[in-house]
């Protein structure tokens, strides 16, 4: 299998590694990704160990990983990708894109998530879009983040909320209510690109800048406060 040298140009063929334990899902993903002229799948791994080995072997431009793997969590893959010395983006494969651990993975360094649900059309385009910086944010992830920054007694949260601008909070609120980027742009009278920038900023501010463990803890606390 020929491994093309990683280039940032969209036109050139870019390599993709899939880490997914369910065979048919992995096949479907591979098939759909390969349909995109700019991408080609260099390998599929069905567990963390193989995934890590393949990562070093193929040095792919993109890695798609499931989170629930037989021998561990996909977050390990995410961390490994983040530590690579070549340009490599990791995305998480999720059924709904709304699990806490998807957010956790994004905080750990994943660029975004890919839905593996019932429709895989244009998945390649999705991957490229995310690579360009358009991180998706599902309403539920927005909601979890909103609770993280919401006006609350918890110091973690208030510190986090101080990091976000009013506009970013508006965007986060509208996202949580299920609005699409285009609708948010219309509602706030800004461009779709600006909405994307806001989303990226939200991720950056709440993910990269804070301690991952602390935020993961805060997330679990949120879930607790949800139930009480």
């Amino acid at each position: 299998m020929v491994v093309s040298k990683p280039k940032l140009s969209v036109q050139s063929l870019q390599s993709v590694l899939i880490v997914e334990d369910r065979a048919y899902t992995a096949q479907s993903l591979q098939k759909e990704i390969n349909k995109n002229a700019a991408l080609h799948v260099v390998g599929t791994a069905s567990d963390v160990a193989t995934g890590l080995a393949m990562l070093q072997k193929y040095k792919p431009r993109f890695v798609l990983t499931d989170l629930g793997l037989p021998d561990g969590s996909g977050v390990e893959i995410v961390r490994a990708v983040k530590a690579t010395d070549w340009p490599c983006d990791c995305m998480v494969i999720s059924i709904f894109g709304d699990e806490n651990r998807v957010l956790e993975a994004i905080r750990a360094g994943a660029k975004g998530f890919i839905l593996k649900g019932d429709n895989l059309h244009d998945i390649g385009e999705h991957i490229l879009e995310i690579a360009r910086g358009g991180s998706p944010m599902s309403p539920k992830i927005a909601r979890i983040l909103l609770k993280l920054v919401g006006p609350d007694r918890n110091t973690h949260r208030s510190e986090a909320s101080r990091q976000l601008t009013t506009r970013e909070l508006d965007v986060l609120q509208l996202l949580a209510k299920g609005f699409k980027r285009k609708e948010i742009a219309q509602h706030l009278e800004i461009s779709i690109g600006t909405v994307g920038t806001h989303i990226n900023h939200i991720y950056e501010k709440l993910g990269v800048r804070s301690n991952v463990e602390a935020i993961a803890l805060a997330v679990s606390e949120n879930i607790i406060s949800n139930g009480s």
């Binding site: 065979a23 479907s28 609005f179 879930i223 139930g227 009480s228």
Partner: protein, 614 residues
């Protein structure tokens, strides 16, 4: 000083006068008649010692109590009283004499024979006579000395200090009865004096200790200083023959009384929590000047100086109750107690003042020695009150702390439970995601790859996947309706793609079903999901609109509509169940569901009545 304060001072003075009047006019005879004894209120007096007063012509008749004219200079002075009495017929042979009150040193001679027990142990000439003014006297007569009739009892009283000599009514009669009266009197005077002295020392030491422990509470220091002063001026009760020059002793005694008042003035300031600097300075200067002046006064003017000294100090002392009356009215109990005690103590002092400096005959009792007792009671009450207050405060604190601990413990256990529940939920959610969810996705992927696809099976699997999403929603707990609808939209999107249906999202306000309305919210979400799924499956619409406001949710499609009656009757098919499901959920929500359908589409209008609080 404000007018208000002057009024308070005048009020205190009035109270003082009334109490003094009460004490003076108290209808109690301090020298009552006893059984088996005669009370003598008539006697003859000779203003000299026994040796000089030998002739009957030296004596003049007087009533008892009798007081000599005070002298201004110290030196041995004597007065002799002569009483005639007949022997009383009592059951006991033994008879005696009882002098409840006299001044100062007694020497008794019955029918020419000395009967007082003191003898000549004291050097009378050199002023070494003990001061026995505060203790009663009793002695019994040898039966041989008492004649049936015309006994002569001579009572010689001597003193080596200035001031007056005095004799109160004399009792002669049954020795047993008089001894009891004497003992009673002794307890009342000397006993109490000694008891109060001991109390004063003890309490002073306690207050000093308290002050050492709680230095910031200066009132304890002032109380202990007051007690120290009291110890000084009470010393002469206990030691009648202190070898101190009379003038100096008197001055020290007077200064101690003033210091006592000065300490209580400061104590009162501490208790009311004020510092009235100009007044305090004035009082301090007054005390220093007057005390210094008293030290310099020649002995012949000492009595007048003392009258002035105590009179003026008394006027200052009236400040103490006035201060308690005027300031800190919120501490009514403490201040009221202080006011009453100080007024009574001052009244006791005033009674003694009147006795010494005005008219001893008009004053039936001397009360000053009760002052330390009253102070002791007041101070003890104060400490007890403080103890009660602090114990109460501590108990309250303990209770509230206990309550807080219980609350926190409850919260923690609730938190732990919730944590366990949440951990379980997380596990379930992950299982659903990775297990059933992953399996379903995998199966759908498989079906997409095979040529022959059973669409019924595939749609069912996709429905199942969405159901799992809903179950996960329900596991995640409370959320507001708009957030849940937002999540639902995300999941409905893929459903729209095959038929190119536009999902128009007009959700801005949503009905608020309450803080704890997880199941209601989920019911609404399921209802919307069913309505949308029905539309996608059966109506073939171009657009589906979800619109909501504070009281209603609309699901509108532009599909082909359906016959409500027919669909409702059709049992066992998906659409029938869907419609029934919508109706059932509407009922559970206490809402109304209006379904309009026709060839132009279907409009499901879910709304809550106006009177239902949302």
């Amino acid at each position: 000083m404000s007018k208000n304060f002057i009024a308070t001072y005048v009020f205190s003075a009035t109270c003082l006068c009334l109490i003094v009047l009460f004490f003076v006019k108290l209808p109690i005879n301090p020298y009552p008649d006893f059984d088996n004894a005669m009370r003598y209120t008539r006697a003859e007096v000779c203003q000299s010692d026994l040796q000089t007063c030998q002739s009957t012509s030296d004596y003049t008749e007087i009533n008892l109590p009798h007081f000599t004219t005070p002298t201004r200079e110290p030196g041995l002075r004597s007065v002799t009283y002569r009483l005639y009495f007949d022997r009383l017929n009592t059951s006991s042979d033994l008879q005696g004499v009882f002098l409840p009150k006299y001044s100062d040193f007694p020497n008794l001679v019955l029918n020419g024979e000395r009967v007082s027990p003191f003898g000549n142990v004291y050097d009378r000439k050199n002023g070494q006579l003990p001061r026995l003014w505060s203790r009663p006297f009793y002695t019994n007569f040898s039966p041989n000395f008492v004649k049936p009739k015309d006994n002569i009892l001579e009572i010689e009283l001597s003193a080596h200090n200035y001031g007056r000599l005095s004799l109160y009514p004399v009792y002669i009669g049954d020795s047993f009865r008089l001894r009891i009266a004497h003992q009673f009197r002794q307890v009342l005077r000397m006993g109490f004096q000694r008891l109060f002295f001991a109390m004063t020392i003890t309490v002073g030491a306690i207050f000093l200790g308290l002050w050492f422990i709680r230095r910031h509470e200066k009132e304890y220091l002032w109380l202990s200083l007051a007690n120290l002063s009291a110890v000084v001026f009470c010393l002469h009760y206990l030691f009648p023959d202190l070898p101190v020059p009379d003038h100096l002793r008197t001055v020290v005694w007077a200064i101690a009384v003033q210091a006592y008042i000065y300490a209580f003035y400061h104590y009162s300031l501490c208790i009311i929590g004020m510092t009235i600097k100009p007044l305090t300075r004035l009082f301090s200067v007054f005390c220093l000047l007057t005390s210094f002046a008293l030290l310099l006064v020649p002995t012949e003017y000492l009595a007048d100086a003392l009258a002035l000294y105590f009179g003026l100090t008394g006027l200052w002392a009236l400040l103490v109750p006035a201060l308690f009356l005027k300031y800190r009215p919120q501490a009514k109990l403490v201040n009221g107690l202080h006011f009453v005690v100080f007024i009574i103590v001052l009244a006791c002092g005033a009674v003694d003042y009147l006795y010494y400096f005005w008219a001893p005959k008009r004053i039936p009792f001397q009360l000053a020695h009760f002052a330390p007792l009253l102070m002791f009671v007041a101070a003890s009450a104060l400490i007890a009150l403080r103890l009660v207050v602090s114990v109460n405060a501590m108990e309250r604190l303990q209770l509230s702390m206990q309550k807080t601990i219980e609350e926190k413990a409850g919260e923690i256990s609730q938190y732990e439970k919730q944590k366990a529940v949440n951990a379980e939920r997380q596990r379930l959610m992950l299982d659903l995601h990775d297990g059933v969810g992953g399996q379903l996705v995998n199966t759908i992927a498989y079906m997409n790859q095979t040529a022959k696809v059973d669409h019924v099976v595939k749609t069912s699997l996709e429905d199942a996947l969405r159901d799992i999403a809903l179950i996960i929603d329900s596991l995640e707990g409370n959320d507001s309706l708009d957030m849940l609808l937002g999540a639902l939209r995300n999941r409905l999107e893929p459903l729209m793609q095959p038929g190119n249906i536009d999902l128009i999202w007009q959700v801005h306000d949503t009905p608020f079903l309450g803080e704890e309305a997880a199941s209601e919210n989920l019911n609404v979400i399921r209802l919307v999901q069913e309505a949308v799924t029905n539309a996608v499956k059966h109506a073939n619409p171009k657009t589906i609109t979800i619109r909501s406001d504070e009281r209603a949710i609309h699901i509108i499609d532009d599909g082909q509509g359906f016959d409500i009656d027919k669909v409702a009757k059709k049992s066992g098919t998906n659409s029938g169940i869907g419609l029934r499901g919508i109706r059932r959920r509407t009922e559970e929500l206490g809402a109304t569901c209006d379904i309009k359908t026709g060839p132009d589409g279907t409009h499901i209008h879910l709304f809550w009545p106006e009177d239902k609080a949302l």
